[in-house]
Each structure stands twice: as C-alpha cells, then as structure tokens.
C-alpha cells in the first residue's frame, strides 16, 4: 500500500484492468530498501516518532528493522510470505515465530496495521469496479473476494492516471462506512523509473480522526537483495 510506483499511462477498460495496473506499478521493482519515519499524532498535536528501514523483495519478502526510539531499537520483523512471520526481540536475543494473527495489531500503535504494511497487491484480495473516470484519474470500488478474510471488505480508491498510483484510499467496513483513509503525497521519481510518495497520511475515523504519517527518507531500489537476506539469520544478526 505504501510503496507505490508509477507504471505510466493506462487506459481504463475496466476496474480489474485498472487495479492490475496499480498492482503492477506498486511492484515494478525487484527489491528495495526504504528508510522511513513514522509519526503518530495525538489529538493534542504532539507526535511520537518511530524510525525504521524496510527491506523488500517482490512479491512477498520483507524485513523491517527499527532504529528509534530506544525501546524499539534493534527489533526486527521478518515476513517471509503471507503465512510466515518472525519477530526478533533484542532484549531476549530470540527470534520468535508469530502467528499471522498479529496482522490485526496496529503497527507500533499507529493507525497502520500490519496488514496495511504487508499488503502489496490488491487484485488477489479484491474485485474492482470502475465507477468514475476523467482525464487525470480513475475511481475504483473494491469489494473483497469470497473466502478472503480482511479487515476492510470495502475499499474506494482514487488512482492518478499518470503514475497509476493511488492518491487516496478509503477503507470501509461491509456496509461501506469509511473507517480509515490513506492519502499519498508528492509522488516523485526516486530511482530509475520508480515513483514513490514522499509521505503517506492515514486517518483512522474510528479513533476520532487520529492520524499517523510515514515519511520516506530514502529509497534504494534494485540493489540485488537475495532471497537468503530475508532469513532468520539476517534478523538475528541485526543487519
């Protein structure tokens, strides 16, 4: 969801086709290293900051390493595929296999869930319907496919035609009520043909419009990360 990428111009010949282009744009790289800052904004205006780096290999592999604040420093999360996750807790020097139930938890108390952080393709989970199109954008209605278990069964997505990237996504419940909104800002080319947002802001309407924001500090793409980087061995090394 966060690591979006341009796939150039696309013609809207149906919702599924547009969603496919979005998925392609989001994953149009082999591997990447994304250094990010997560800000969790309190209603009072104060914010907490969490610094982390995500290493990703398309399609599924991810390794997240936290560098700040101090109580999270050294902690790591490894996602080998959608069913296999590990957490490294430096205080115990232990890599622990965790059930995928943790996807229901918030990502470090933010308005992002682990599911948000791990969702890189929408087509396998959602059916898409093109509901509006103009010169610059598409609007898609996504409904969850039968048999899929997901927190947000209904999604409304605004897609920029130029980059084939979502500029705004409303995540809703089964009745269509909007529970959470994600907005993407300042797409720019940050390596080769890759377009990435400078920041993503998520507003959780169930929490009195509580906001969290991810700022991308640096992006390195196609560095040649191998599969054996995404292992427990790397996690315990504290790369």
């Amino acid at each position: 969801m966060l690591l979006c990428l341009s796939a150039g111009r696309a013609s809207a010949d149906g919702g599924a086709d547009v969603l496919g282009k979005v998925d392609t744009a989001m994953n149009n790289f082999t591997d990447g290293e994304f250094e990010s800052k997560l800000f969790i904004r309190d209603p009072s205006g104060q914010s907490r900051e969490i610094d982390f780096t995500t290493y990703q290999k398309v399609p599924d592999k991810r390794l997240v390493r936290f560098s700040a604040p101090g109580d999270l420093k050294g902690m790591g999360v490894l996602v080998e595929n959608k069913d296999v996750m590990y957490v490294f807790l430096p205080g115990f020097q232990k890599v622990r296999r965790v059930g995928t139930h943790v996807k229901a938890q918030t990502f470090m108390g933010s308005d992002f869930s682990y599911e948000d952080m791990s969702l890189s393709r929408y087509s396998p989970t959602y059916d898409a319907k093109l509901v509006k199109e103009d010169a610059n954008s598409w609007e898609l209605d996504l409904t969850v496919k039968p048999g899929q278990e997901i927190e947000y069964p209904h999604v409304h997505m605004w897609v920029d035609k130029k980059s084939a990237q979502p500029t705004k996504i409303d995540f809703g419940d089964g009745s269509g009520k909007v529970l959470k909104t994600a907005e993407y800002f300042d797409y720019h080319i940050d390596g080769g043909t890759h377009w990435g947002p400078s920041k993503v802001v998520v507003t959780d309407h169930r929490r009195n419009d509580h906001k969290s924001e991810i700022q991308f500090v640096s992006t390195k793409l196609n560095q040649g990360l191998k599969d054996d980087f995404f292992t427990q061995r790397t996690l315990i090394r504290g790369h």
Binding site: Q93, R96, R97
Partner: protein, 529 residues
Amino acid sequence: MSTKRGLVVVAGLVGFWCASARADVDVKFGGQIASDIRYRLGGEEVPPPSPTAEVPFPSQQRLLRYGFSRNENLIKAQLTLSISDRVKAVADVDFYWYGYSDVNDIDSATLHERVDPYRLEANAAYVDIYKILPKLDLRIGRQVVVWGTGDKFNPTNNLNTLDLSDPLLFGKAIANNMIRADWNPWGDLILTAVWVPIFRPAQLPRTAPLAVTTPNRPAPVQEEYIRSTLGSFAMAMPPSQINVLTMQPDPSIANSQVGVRLAGRILGLDVSASYYHGRWGIPTPAWAVQKPGGIVDAIVMWPRMDVVGADLAGSIEKLKGLGWWIETAVFFPQKITYGTYNDSFGGHDPITFEDKGTKDANGNELYQPHLTAPEFQRGTVIPSTPFVKLTAGMDFTWNKYLYSNLQYVYGFIDEFGAGQQCYARPNPTLVFGDNRCEARIGHYLVVGSDLKLFSDQLLIRFFGAFKVPQMGDEDPKFTAVLFPQIAWAVWDATELSVGAFVFLGDRDTKFGDPAAGASEIFMKARFTY
C-alpha cells in the same frame, strides 16, 4: 636491493594493505536508564545463615516480611561496532546501584563503594564473524543463545543458565562465554553448534537459602522410609545452625558444555531438534554432615545432564492466524545421592540404609539404618530416571487492543528430576516429619492478556501461572502466581509502570514456599536511548 630498502618496501606494502583493508567502522550506541523500587508483602524474613557467617551484600538489603526488597538504579550501555557486513562486535553492560548501604563499621562509612554499593553485569561482549567460511557464521564471546519455541518456558534452552533473582524477569538467560557456529547450507536450514568452556550457575533468588536452611524441611531424598528416618534423627538432634557449602565444577574440559541444534521448516512449520550436554543451573543437595554442637554442613552441587529436545511452531490460518508452539525435552540426569555423615562424636560415620527387601503397609520399601561404616545405600536425591518437560501454547490477537496467550507447561523453569518434591506442612511449632509430597515435575497453566490502549501508550497486562494437581500428589492444594501490571509509555522511549507479583498458596506448595519468594509491589521508570 639492500636489506634495509627491502624492509622499507615490505613495510610500505603492509601499510598499503592495511590501509586498503581497513573499512569504515559503523558505530551504534544505545542503552537504558531505569529505576526499580519494590516493597515486599509477607513472605518470610531471610536472616543471615548464621551469627558467624558473612552477611549478604549489601548488608542493608535484608528481606524483611514487610520492607523494601529492591531499590535499584540501572544505567545500561550498548555498543555495536560493525565493519562492512563481515564483522560485528557487541558490548552490552548493565551498571546497577543497589540503593542499599553496606556500612557495618565506621571505616566502611567512609568508603564510597560501601555507602553506595554497585555491581556490573555484562549481557554481551562478543564478536561476530560472518561467512568465515561459505555459509558459516561464528560468534565468540559472552553471549546468550536462546533455543526453543515456547514463550519463556523453554525446556530445550539449557546453554545459558537463568537469572532467577528477579521474578519479574521470569527466568532471563544469563550471558556466558561461549563459541557459537551457525551453518546455513540452504534455505531455512540452520545447524548450530555451541561450546561453553566454563559452566556458570544460575543466579538464585535471595530467598533460595531457605530451601536448605529451614531446619524442618524434609530430607531431599526419594525413599520415603529414609526421608522419615532422617527426619527422626533431625528431631532427636535439631540443628542449631545449617551452613550450606557448594561444590563448584572444576574448570576442566570434562566440565565444559556443548549443544547442537538443527532447525528448519517443514510444511510451513518451524521444526528443530537439539542436544545438550552440561549441567542443570540450580544446585541440588548432595551431602549433609552433622557436626558437634548441632551444626550441620550441607553441601550442594550442580548435577550433570544430557538433554534431547525438539520443538514445533506454526500458525493456523483457518483460525485467523492463531499462533501455536510445542516444545519438549527428555532429560537424562546424573544420579545424585545424599551422603549423610555424623561427625558429632569425633569420627566421620556414614549414615546409610540397608534395603530389607520388604515393604510397609503403604508399599514403601523398608530399610535398616546403619550409623557406622561400612556404607550401605544412600538416599536418592536425583534418580537417573529420564524425565520429560514440555510446553505447548497458543496466542491470538483478538483486535488491535487485545492479545492473549495460553500455555500448558509440564515442568516449571526451576523443576528438575523424576520423583517427588516434599514440603514441611505449616505448623505453629517446629515439627519434623509432617510432610506433604507431590510430583517434582508439575503441570501448570499459564494464561495472560495484554490490553493496549491509546495508540499502545497504555498497556494493562495480567498474567498468571496456576499449578494443576496431578495423580499421586498428597492433599493437592491451590497455588499460583499472579502478575498484574500497568505500563504507561509517557513519551518516546519513556515508560512508567506499576504492578505486583503475587505468590499464592500455603507454605507447603510450589509458590507458597517461602524459598520461592514473597509477594511484591513495584514501581519502575525507564528511558531507553
């Protein structure tokens, strides 16, 4: 080329090589500043072992029935140095101030280290060398190697002994000097081999001496007849003082520890098998010598053991990703007998027992006691019978606020050996021989939940461990420990927490035993950088 010029050229080449081989050192620094104040509720006072023995350090830190049991400040420093992706050196040191004085005389009142005692604990001091050979990593130095899939209760995890001095740590592993090699031939398959040259005993709680120094505690032997006979002797000659001595393993190659573990993934499940050869970290009584004047010297030792273990972990997607794990180990212990001697009459007379080959009405073996040489049979403290420990658990996140964890534990972290564990029943007066026995390896249910509110800034935690009675336990009794806690993440990396650690049960139960500890309330503040 003259020799001198040749040396200059060689030196220049070496210098060039060194300069070109030197890579930038990546330095990371971190740590923690923390304060920990606890107040003890109930339990039993732990007096110095004898009027003549050295009092614990610092002397002001006495375990009173009602009093401060901890008044600690911590500065932790962690340093990580990396060179490229091949070498990493890690240091992690805790510097504690006890918060108690040790001022026994006017001289010590003039010394900083006696007025404000402190201690150091190195959690890590190791060097990692990655890919020293293809697919082979090496870690040398003071470190912790944690094995097993269970949550805190890991029967396969024996390379490091445990820090049992603080119940809130629930058995944190103590770092030790060791050499670890990890070979990762392909995929998730990892073969780990560890060698620990010198055994480091577990850190016992301040209440542990009560397990040995309480006069009417039953003799730690399995044979009921021998136990009651030794109890009768103690009743006839009640000890006036019990000194507990230890028999540390020699720092020889024969006493070093080794472990091997093969871990991988099969059908989406994490699987491992392991073997350990070494010692159990908690000492067990092995000798008792009755001396003139009612003085008893008890001697404890750390039994050898071999452990074969296996574990499994996975996630059940049909149950919304429920996490589960099973970890089990078979222990093959060294047999420990109870050598009892009577030196009170000037000699060194063994007290042993001759098996008469008959049984009493309860089916217990009958023995003939012998109070002089030759030696017959000693009581058995740890039989050589293999025994099993097991942890099976599951956890689940109900929603973004609530997490739950449930474990069945067969064999608590401090339990060792087949057979029975006996306690002196609570009596208003000192009574010998009135005991209650139950299986040494017990069944437990460990349940807990975390409720996180306000963007995870407020954590309300409740965990409890409950002993489950089993067949053969005499007069089963309720016993449990409860651990309620509220932690508030005031700001980035800053946490305040209050809570309690509550021991429930009569003094002849697992958690009600005064040697296990006493209930405490605590308040902590922590800043991590």
